[in-house]
């Protein structure tokens, strides 16, 4: 049901690196899961609007009250790389076109 190409394509969309072995295993497992949940297609949903949340709330509004923010040092304490109080990332726009 889910072939290797589909697995690779979905992994790419999810930005998930994957070994050759994992591609095979996930292909098989996802196929089994999707077969099992295929029953979903049998449900008669005519005239039903999709529900995306369970809170049954409409929008909640509150005053926008300015508050002190966290110190940059605190927020950067878990960062793997930083420079001048900024997150340091690898070049995004350089390299091969």
């Amino acid at each position: 049901m889910i072939d290797r190409e589909t697995v690779k394509n979905v992994a790419k969309l999810a930005r998930l690196g994957m070994s050759e072995e994992e591609i095979t295993v996930f292909g098989d497992q996802l196929s089994v899961i999707l077969q099992n949940i295929a029953i979903l297609q049998e449900a008669d949903v005519s005239g039903v609007s999709p529900t995306s949340h369970a809170s049954r709330l409409t929008n909640v509004m509150r005053e926008d009250i300015p508050q002190p923010s966290y110190a940059p040092e605190l927020l950067l304490a878990n960062a793997p790389a930083q420079e001048d109080n900024c997150l340091k990332v690898r070049a995004v726009l350089e390299g091969e076109a």
């Binding site: 999810a14 996930f26 899961i33 609007s49 878990n78 793997p80 690898r90």
Partner: protein, 489 residues
């Protein structure tokens, strides 16, 4: 006096306020219990002894001064490692967050700290709360105190096991599809999933945001009421938290359920449910009838679609929520390349475990072009149908009663097929999809292993399900049983 670790929160609170015991003594008793047993149970990812003793001393000062205190002041509790604790490692059971120290407290932690609760540690869980056994923890599985070769359930298995083994008087977990109620059932403790929006999710590391709720584990309904009271209520930092007033849950435990209308969903007795579980829960429902409840059958016709809808919606939301783990801001980061895309893909390949990857893949697939309508949109419509089932049922009934799980605790390693593991949550998932509240309470034993009785209530009817749970406990002693397996551990 009984051993300190055997007290309930309500009992210990009385003794603390009467100054017959101190929080330091109470906390030390639980830390000793952890030292003696957790090598075998492995409920904790981190034991915070020093912090706990400091908090206990502070609590004792309040008692000595006669300050106004909360029923949780000085009470040793455990926190699932998915709830952010400021400056204290919060791993989510994942290598991705192995060394992550949150710069802030979750709202529930702020509230617990403000009333002087004592935190003894952070508890083990399936990675990012995805799983039903704690076997998907990146670090180690937790063992069921009732049989150390069996799983405690999950994903909040550590929180359930800690309370079952007397290593904490109560604990908090999170429930997205059954992650509080299923381990509570397997470990013979009370586990409550509140109504969506009753407890703030701020600082709860997100799995599936439209389903996640934080809730308590305890050894009695009364204790669960105390633990829920402490954290329930609105929070400006969670726009889905409700401003509906929070009732006094302890006051709702009146003991009388005469005339209470209890529905028994006929679809919750599916083939494959263990006969021992069915027998125990049927007997439990008879007890409720003897207590004066009006019991009759009800149909929730879309139940059979619950697991399928859930395994589209939850992974879809997870695939979006877990996109934040990019190795840039915090968490594990693959450093051995200069290429941005390679770093991103390698970070996620090495940082996530198998179950998390499986769900990210499933969710990404369901949301991808060409499949969105067939899977995600269809699942959202089925979700609406399941919600309507409950709306109709609660027009006629106050509470719905069923088994919490299809089986008693299974052996560690016994369930290797991912989909088979997903079926553990067949009776708990619908409540998350509909946003209603539910509780699992000790409902008897099958071959010496605990069986959970699930009571589902309408939205914001936590007081009602707690009242039924408490009335049931007054005529049963299942919740007072201690796991014998630990005595020989």
């Amino acid at each position: 006096m009984a051993e300190l670790y055997k007290l309930t929160i309500a009992e210990a609170g009385d003794l603390l306020r009467q100054k017959k015991i101190s929080s330091v003594e109470l906390t030390r008793a639980h830390l000793e219990r952890i030292r003696a047993l957790d090598d075998k149970v492995k409920a904790f990812t981190l034991v915070t002894d020093d912090l706990a003793m400091k908090q206990a001393q502070e609590a004792d000062l309040h008692f000595q001064r006669g300050d106004a205190v909360s029923p949780l002041t000085g009470i040793p509790i455990a926190i699932k490692d998915v709830i952010c604790t400021r400056g204290i490692t919060t791993t989510c059971g994942s290598n991705m967050l192995k060394n992550f120290k949150p710069p802030f407290d979750a709202t529930v932690m702020e509230r617990l700290n403000a009333i002087g609760a004592v935190m003894v540690g952070k508890t083990n869980m399936d990675e990012f709360a995805m799983g039903s056994s704690t076997e998907h923890s990146a670090f180690f599985p937790t063992h069921n105190p009732w049989d150390l070769e069996r799983a405690p359930g999950g994903s909040s298995g550590g929180s359930a096991a800690a309370v079952a083994a007397g290593m904490a008087m109560g604990s908090y977990g999170s429930d997205t599809g059954g992650s509080i109620r299923q381990p509570a059932a397997l470990c013979n403790v009370v586990g409550l999933k509140p109504t969506y929006g009753r407890v703030s999710r701020f600082g709860l590391v997100a799995f599936a945001s439209s389903l996640d709720q934080i809730g308590p584990f305890a050894r009695s309904a009364r204790d669960a009421a105390i633990l829920l009271q402490a954290v329930a209520g609105p929070d400006s930092r969670d726009s889905t938290s409700s401003y509906k007033p929070v009732p006094d849950y302890s006051a709702a435990l009146k003991g009388n359920i005469k005339g209470m209308r209890i529905g028994v969903p006929e679809e919750y007795w599916v083939e494959g449910t263990q006969p021992g579980v069915v027998a125990a829960v049927r007997q439990d429902i008879e007890k409720l009838r003897e207590l004066g409840a009006e019991v009759s059958e009800v149909s929730l016709p879309h139940t059979k679609y619950g697991v399928s809808a859930y395994y589209i919606i939850a992974p879809a939301e997870a695939s979006a929520n877990l996109a934040r783990y990019d190795g840039v801001k915090y968490g594990y980061s693959y450093r051995d390349t200069d290429d941005m895309w390679e770093a991103l893909e390698q970070t996620r390949e090495h940082g996530f475990g198998q179950e998390v990857k499986r769900r990210i893949m499933l969710g990404t697939y369901a949301l991808s072009s060409g499949y969105y309508d067939a899977y995600y949109k269809q699942a959202e419509k089925v979700r609406a149908l399941i919600t309507q089932d409950f709306d109709r049922a609660f027009e006629r009934f106050d509470v719905l009663a069923s088994p919490a799980t299809p089986s008693v605790a299974f052996r560690l390693g016994e369930i290797s097929d991912p989909y088979e593991m997903y079926l553990q949550d067949v009776f708990t998932i619908p409540a998350n999809l509909a946003g209603i509240c539910g509780i699992s309470i000790p409902g008897g034993f099958s071959n010496g292993l605990p069986v959970g009785l699930q009571l589902l209530g309408n939205i914001f009817a936590e007081d009602v399900i707690l009242r039924v749970a408490d009335a049931f406990e007054r005529v049963t002693d299942y919740h007072k049983q201690w796991p014998e397996a630990l005595a020989y551990a």
